[in-house]
């Protein structure tokens, strides 16, 4: 049976049967990775999104080389100049250097939290669907409960009770609270996938439950998981920057969230020279979110050929 990545993709919201398309993504003869890029290049917005994300990640990785000087000077809120193209902060630090270096925590927490979300959702969702019974019922109820409490509110309350003291814990809490929606759609997918012949074959070969679930079934949802991973990154970044804004996240170091918070609470928007200090990190966050969203939209189109003719 021609099981490729596109097979398992469907729109999660409808909860209908996955569309098992025998139409193979055109690129199959070229090899999955190159074909994938060829498809991506065909969609302009997808390509733009991909380039934005790659550029931002590259900028963050090479930030110390690009503009590594984060030393405070006595030049507070300096206006535009050749030495400081975006002026300086309230501590006299070069704003451009802060913007270039400020993506690290945002990206790490975003990707880390999303990885945790996807991990929990895939493990619980696929096992619940595979076993059914009490585990399934229990997990559905737990997911319902988590989905009922507004996540951001819960996050803010947890932030006030726990006092996140490092970005690592921030990522863990954000990741641990946002799995339920994805878990439900993974569960719906596995429910239909597990009735397929190859699963039956694996079961007859007595491959063991864990192997059947995680080696035979889960890889069929790879594309679906990838798209949801990116969506989870955008959600995690939304929650995280919001927490920074409320001052509930660790306010040490340099990152876009802290810059916005600092600029906002210190009234940077009323000072024309300080305006870049608040607008530049906002622009970076928006750019990152936009790139990720454009990427998911075109990934959905590539991996779900049905959407293309619409």
């Amino acid at each position: 049976m021609g099981i490729n990545v596109a097979d398992a993709t469907l729109e999660p919201a409808k909860g209908e049967e996955p569309h098992v398309s025998e139409e193979v993504v055109k690129a199959k003869g070229v090899g999955p990775i190159r074909g994938f890029f060829r498809e991506l290049a065909r969609s302009t917005s997808g390509l733009i999104g991909f380039i934005i994300v790659v550029l931002l990640v590259a900028m963050t990785i090479f930030a110390p080389l690009l503009r590594g000087n984060l030393k405070p000077t006595t030049d507070y809120w300096a206006p535009f100049s050749a030495a400081h193209p975006l002026g300086t902060s309230g501590q006299g630090i070069d704003t451009l250097a802060m913007v270039v270096n400020g993506g690290k925590t945002v990206l790490l927490v975003g990707f880390g939290a999303a990885a945790l979300t996807v991990l929990i959702a895939v493990v619980i969702g696929s096992l619940a669907a595979y076993f059914r019974g009490w585990f399934d019922a229990l997990m559905l109820q737990v997911a319902d409960l988590f989905m009922t409490i507004p996540q951001i509110v819960l996050l803010a309350v947890m932030g006030s009770l726990f006092r996140f003291d490092s970005p690592f814990w921030l990522a863990v809490i954000v990741g641990a609270l946002s799995w339920p929606v994805l878990m439900r759609s993974i569960r719906a997918q596995v429910l239909t996938l597990k009735e397929r012949e190859f699963v039956e074959a694996a079961r007859l070969l007595d491959l063991g439950t864990l192997r059947i679930v995680f080696v035979e079934i889960v890889p069929n949802m790879a594309s679906f998981i990838l798209i949801n991973f990116i969506i989870a990154v955008t959600n995690a970044i939304y929650a995280m920057v919001g927490l920074y804004l409320l001052g509930l996240a660790p306010l040490a170091g340099v990152n876009w969230g802290i810059m916005v918070q600092d600029g906002w609470t210190n009234g940077a928007m009323f000072n024309p020279d300080a305006l870049p200090y608040i607008l530049a990190p906002v622009a970076m966050i928006v750019l990152l979110q936009l790139g990720l969203i454009l990427l998911t939209r075109s990934l959905e189109e590539i991996l779900n050929p049905r959407l293309r003719d619409r």
Partner: protein
């Protein structure tokens, strides 16, 4: 028409269907089930919050007791008693008794008092601020859904047209901007740079001195103050609604019954309204519940940015002051509001799509 008929097993009399009784039974089944489920959910959330606050390392009562001893030189018993009244719980009692007390107090609408501003009860605080959030979020959801509905149908009818492309691009862009950042941009660009509005005047939820009442003055004033939050919520969510509506309309347009309706020569408006619209709107209604929770959550950030005096900004303040009784009360009330929003969405959904009511039992 006896009470027994209601209690009997659904398949009791297959060959003698009594319409009113069956109708009653289905009605009871579906709606009662939903209400009971919502109540159970509220109970579970209430309990979860109870244990979350109490089983935390360094629970707030102990922290507050220590603070009272250190700052006001009270004896341990005095401090403990004072802390216990404030939080409506006494951690020296067995947990199960505390739990019973807590539920009992809640049933009487007593959620404790604020630590920071003594004398203010949590209930009064919530009652004073929650309506503003519900007002601004509710109005924006109605506007955003209405807008999304119209735009989405237009996009589906004129696929590949200008509206389709423009709304797709603008929608993605606005969706990409976190709502609190959009709020900041509105303040910075519209308020500070271009001076389109006086941001300082628009703070708060109502101008001091304006008497609440059903008159044009008051209504104008509350809309004036809520305008920026509403604008933010609508801008960030309408595009998503439009995209959901577009894809479901596109799907419905391909259905056979639409083709048949066209073949029957029905007017375009009638097809769009009764045949396409009513069916296409279903996925939208299903999403209202999740979106409501999300928008209410985002309200913390947005209200804080605009200094709009809703429940979100109160939550933020109480978090800053570590005012645990208020935090607990607000978390509880917001969750209850979202549960009721879900319940309402369920009812609307079952009204629009009666299949839901009957399929419900076989689904899970």
């Amino acid at each position: 028409m006896t009470a027994v008929a209601v209690k009997s097993v659904p398949v009791a009399n297959p060959d003698r269907p009594r319409t009113p009784s069956i109708w009653l039974r289905i009605w009871r089944n579906y709606f009662l089930r939903r209400v009971v489920r919502a109540l159970i959910m509220i109970w579970v959330v209430t309990s979860a919050i109870f244990f979350l606050v109490r089983l935390m390392p360094g629970n707030p009562v102990d922290t507050y007791t220590n603070k009272l001893i250190a700052e006001q030189g009270l004896s341990y018993e005095q401090a403990r008693a004072q802390a216990a009244t404030l939080f409506q719980f006494d951690s020296s009692k067995p947990l199960i008794l505390q739990y019973v007390d807590y539920l009992n107090n809640l049933l009487h609408g007593d959620m404790g008092s604020s630590i920071v501003s003594s004398g203010t009860t949590v209930a009064s605080k919530v009652a004073a601020h929650l309506p503003w959030t519900m007002f601004s979020v509710g109005i924006s959801m109605v506007i955003a859904i209405g807008l999304g509905l119209v735009l989405g149908m237009l996009m589906a009818y004129r696929r590949g047209g200008i509206v389709d492309h423009a709304v797709s691009v603008i929608g993605s862009l606005l969706h990409a901007i976190p709502n609190y950042l959009l709020a900041m941009l509105i303040v910075v660009v519209g308020g500070v740079k271009l001076k389109w509005f006086d941001f300082a005047q628009m703070r708060g939820s109502v101008t001091p001195g304006v008497q609440p009442g059903f008159n044009i003055n008051f209504i104008q004033d509350i809309f004036y103050h809520a305008a920026l939050p509403i604008l933010t919520y609508v801008l960030t969510t309408a595009g998503t609604w439009a995209l959901v509506m577009k894809s479901s309309t596109t799907q419905v347009l391909g259905e056979d019954y639409v083709t048949v309706a066209r073949a029957r020569g029905l007017s375009g408006g009638r097809i769009a309204g009764t045949y396409v619209g009513r069916n296409a709107v279903l996925p939208l209604v299903a999403q209202i519940a999740t979106q409501a929770g999300f928008v209410v959550g985002g309200a913390i950030f947005v209200e804080q940015t605009f200094a709009y005096d809703g429940i979100g900004i109160q939550l933020y303040k109480s978090i800053n002051f570590r005012d645990y009784p208020i935090i607990q009360g607000i978390l509880l009330m917001i969750t209850i509001v979202v549960i009721f929003a879900n319940l309402l969405a369920d009812f609307i959904y079952s009204f629009l799509d009666p299949r839901i009511r009957t399929d419900e039992r076989t689904e899970d």
